[in-house]
Symmetry: C2
Subunit: 720 residues, 2 copies
Amino acid sequence: MKHCFSFFLLSLIALTQSFAQNKILTLDDAVQQQWRMFRPEHYDGMQPYGSSDFTYVEKYRVVQKIESSSGKAIKLVSTDEINKSLSESGAAAIAYFPFWDYSWKTDKLLSFKNETTQYLYDIDAKKMVSVIELPENAANIHPNPKSNYLAYTVENNIFLTDSSKVKKQITLDIDKGIVNGSDYVHRQEFGIDKGMFWSPKGNFLAFYRKDETMVADYPLTNISTPIASVTNIKYPMAGAKSEEVTLGIYELKSGKTVFANVTDFTSERYLTSITWSPDEKFVFIGVLNREQNHLKLNKYESSTGNFVKTLFEEKHPKYVEPEKPLIFFPNSSTDFLFFSERDGYNHLYHYDTDGNLKSQLTKGEWVVMDFLGFDKKNQTVYISATKDSPIEQNYYKVDIKSSDIKRLTPEVGVHEAVFSSDKKYILDTWSNTQTPNKSVIYNSEGKPLHKLIDAKNPLKEYNIGELTLGTLKADDGKTDLHYRMITPPDYDKKKKYPVLIYVYGGPHLQLIRNSWLADARLWEFYMAQLGYIVFSIDNRGSANRGRDFENVIHRRCGQIEMQDQMTGVNFLKSLPFVDTERIGVHGWSYGGFMTASLLVNYPETFKVGVAGGPVIDWKYYEVMYGERYMDTPEENPEGYKKTSLLTQAAGLKGRLLIIHGYQDPVVVPQNSIDFQRAVISAGTDCDYFLYPEAEHNVFGADRTHLMQKVTRYFEDYLKK
Amino acid sequence: MKHCFSFFLLSLIALTQSFAQNKILTLDDAVQQQWRMFRPEHYDGMQPYGSSDFTYVEKYRVVQKIESSSGKAIKLVSTDEINKSLSESGAAAIAYFPFWDYSWKTDKLLSFKNETTQYLYDIDAKKMVSVIELPENAANIHPNPKSNYLAYTVENNIFLTDSSKVKKQITLDIDKGIVNGSDYVHRQEFGIDKGMFWSPKGNFLAFYRKDETMVADYPLTNISTPIASVTNIKYPMAGAKSEEVTLGIYELKSGKTVFANVTDFTSERYLTSITWSPDEKFVFIGVLNREQNHLKLNKYESSTGNFVKTLFEEKHPKYVEPEKPLIFFPNSSTDFLFFSERDGYNHLYHYDTDGNLKSQLTKGEWVVMDFLGFDKKNQTVYISATKDSPIEQNYYKVDIKSSDIKRLTPEVGVHEAVFSSDKKYILDTWSNTQTPNKSVIYNSEGKPLHKLIDAKNPLKEYNIGELTLGTLKADDGKTDLHYRMITPPDYDKKKKYPVLIYVYGGPHLQLIRNSWLADARLWEFYMAQLGYIVFSIDNRGSANRGRDFENVIHRRCGQIEMQDQMTGVNFLKSLPFVDTERIGVHGWSYGGFMTASLLVNYPETFKVGVAGGPVIDWKYYEVMYGERYMDTPEENPEGYKKTSLLTQAAGLKGRLLIIHGYQDPVVVPQNSIDFQRAVISAGTDCDYFLYPEAEHNVFGADRTHLMQKVTRYFEDYLKK
């Protein structure tokens, strides 16, 4: 333990910046304004345009082109012009331009969607080419890449239409338990964000068909009806009967649908990484068994659905987690890249469609986060990765033959880059703890060409406390854990301050990065202003540190994570200005689970906790995420018991407030309500509050109420 | 306001008794032991026996006779003897003798029921005469008064059986929404406590048939199933479609059922005061309209169900509330007594079955609480009443001809008496604030014959604080309101103490009587020991003070009640040892409604409140009780709005904890959950807790947890 502290003292980097100003944040500032008045200047909806330029949207109204050669912004089109054209054709005006939902079909044809209406506008002719109005309850809208067809769903079926108002129903399921084309398949694990897949040339539409008729209902109670009513959602709890998913392949020309003939494992398998071959002849599916420890990358014939071959397989004693589709080389229907964590880190592998591994493109103790494209000659790929620091994101070019890698974004921090279509220009936007936001155009070698934005610090006039990032050694003596600490403004190191630990701790998320405010929520600075030391640490299990950093949690969620949180606590206790008698913890979701777990496992340390939407027992969580980390209750009874807060309610000593969205379809309310039963039965106590209309998170105006409630709880019980 | 205080000073009666001892109650003592170790010595299951004696049950094991002539107890039978006889016939033993469920068929034949088995035992022959085992799910078991037949229900139908194991199904409803013979009709308003009515000679069985197929479902969520599940209960909310109830009349001989042909008002009428004529020829029904302001006392022919005539009608602009059956004179099928509040107080009226009013038997500004019987010559009736004090209950004999009334229980306090069958002896059990419990046998003139019990004070060794009863004038300048105050043990009148007001406030209940501990719960003394002044006042609207005292609440529940509570608060504020900055309030059900109402209406007065199972908006309450006091939301929109806590959530300033049984079928959880929505929306705050398995009240071991929670809330926020 001492060892890690001495290490800390060496590795401590004070990234603090002190401001001469002294404004104080209000709670509303902290909760509602982080992404509004306190958001540094930035671009919305940046995209590549033409071969080497970009477009973005200004104030929801004007689509601006950024000319890479000059760095200048040139107006392309405004909502006024669009509305003039709409008015001429008698169509309704649009109130704003949706920067999150537009694309360029050609340099001239601007496609965008508002609610359930799809527009195609010619910026040269200043004419609306087509307006397709879908029914109000249309969802999952996917434009065909080559034609004016739109695929969409109404309730549980898929429809097709175009501007000529032709409407065609592709699936005909009457039972609402059979859901076609929805993006909500496998509960959106495995990187799934859509349920329909147009083939590259637009001749086929592949789609998920989810049969959940056999999945148990979870009843959510709606109290806003005159008499309370129930909405049943399908919720497969760990170990229970799960959904069965198949992949349909619809051919536009014939109007016929075939299904991929997947026979591996049981019918509760997962169909992941859905990818069309560029020639449309094949569909690839990463077929994963329900146990999630055996992946087969399979090839199916699109015209028949017939299985062709298994290209390769991946296994791991804990779990395999495919999250990305195949990436075909331009102008090739045989060579592709595939993401895999098989060597311990997420890297790119070059395969051909016969299943031959041609090379491992990237390698090292860091992870590839995203793939940005190939250069024109297919010699180079562009990626983002954590190669230079696990708390930074940079962009790199990788030579396909040599695997040589070169960083393109020179500045320290977290970068978000858009590459021009010809890959000659990079529009990089980045921040770090010292830099609110900068946008710069680089050439393809990372040489800066034009400075676009150098945002002012919107908190310049506020006295927001000191921000420190650092690392601690985990109790294995080798793993670095990153932490973030915010100390009260003008704090007196001779005094002792209460500590508020903000925790998430679960997989797929990283709290601490070297970005503006280090990714902290403004509320943390608000709490620092109230006199708390606000601390977070990314424990083992969290994201972007590789497979083995994450999968230590397997079959024992929370256990290792708590050890690492305690490493943070022990560090805090070593600081002279920390009041070790007043340590509180707050988190939501997995962080709610962590909060409650810390209170019952370390009752002598944690005086107060606020757990939002917490998993209380993994038996109440769903199959897809839950079984990956915990296996089933039957397979892992000790693990379920050990991690259950129901069985540990007697250990609760501190003050624990549990908050839950009463409509939560992710962590169902049974968790927190059963915990109340458990504390009653154990003779201990917790506090409780419901957000009757909230789902897994509390948004909008209610969020101020929520954070006021959380704040008040610490003020009531930790501050005093 | 000053006027009422000077009145108070005159009327203050210090009933306090100080003890030399100094033990302190634990919370468990206070919550679990009031009716166990702290219950004064008393008789269980006292009943008349033979012509002039009584029986009671000792320690669940021995049936004792009390001989009126000598006052001596003589053992009649024990569970050992009963079990010996059961063992001989190969039947299962009983674990205890049910003092709450036994009766004498003759002097020798003892009938009793354990769970769903009905026993008939001959105490002379020491033989079990019959054992009728009903199915485990049998309910509503009613023995025929003249034969060995039992009527009972299984699910929604009625069955008949006898010891020969003949089983006959009387009703054949398949739809579970049609419920026969259940005691849960009209939600047990109107004094309804059974759903089947044997005729006096045992030849007919009248029964309620409740059709609630058209009543809306309220979904109660059960979290103890592997995945949460819903139990729908039928819950007719104010203004919504209500149940339709009819009365079936089954004849044993013919096996046929007719239905009383009730045609008055709409089909949502109430059938109250169900009574057989002694000759079995007629059934009387108090038919009340849904509006509850018009009662018709109707006579129906039992053989055909035909309507014969309306004996009389009662109307009131607010409401009429029949709660008792007709009481026929012995050996008469024509003359009966009927309870009515028509002159403003509950009194007895002598009618004949042609509807002629022969006399008003009792009269005055007090209420008859119960009818105990006639003397052998039909010259006298015995009643209990509040004639001598609204906070006492005494027994009286009333001369039928002259209406002369004579008190039979001389001691001040609350009496519970049993009369011998021949009305020659009265076994009176009574208490007052000075007297834990006494039992005495009087003769029919109220002359004491034998002293039986003079219980010791079980709290003698405890320092439980001082108890004071008194009256205050309501702000109408004339109405007396009774209060109870418990001050901390050995309190220092020069110091200032926080106040905890315990409130109910609704109709049908009276908190303060001159009985042992003045009906206070031991928890109130526990809180006094913690340093609180604990105060209650029976506001207008509460029980035993007459019709107009109660019905001021009509169409405005809570409003007048709060005025009277504030009369109590103003009195408290006049006391030098009251800390006027620390006043809290706690109540359950109507008292929960009152608690929340007081916090939002008098935010400057009430710093802390704990509201249990509260009505939050009367629109969420049921038809039967709700519409009596509030009319429907359509008829009384202003009243509903004025009393709704949803519309007043913005006025909440103090700390309010709301606690609710998640299975509450009386005040459904929608009330408190919607209140959370309201406070979120109003930007105010409350605290919340659910008892996941509790219904409208929290019983058993969980009750200690509950009261610990309530206590802690006041300790956290009021004490500090």
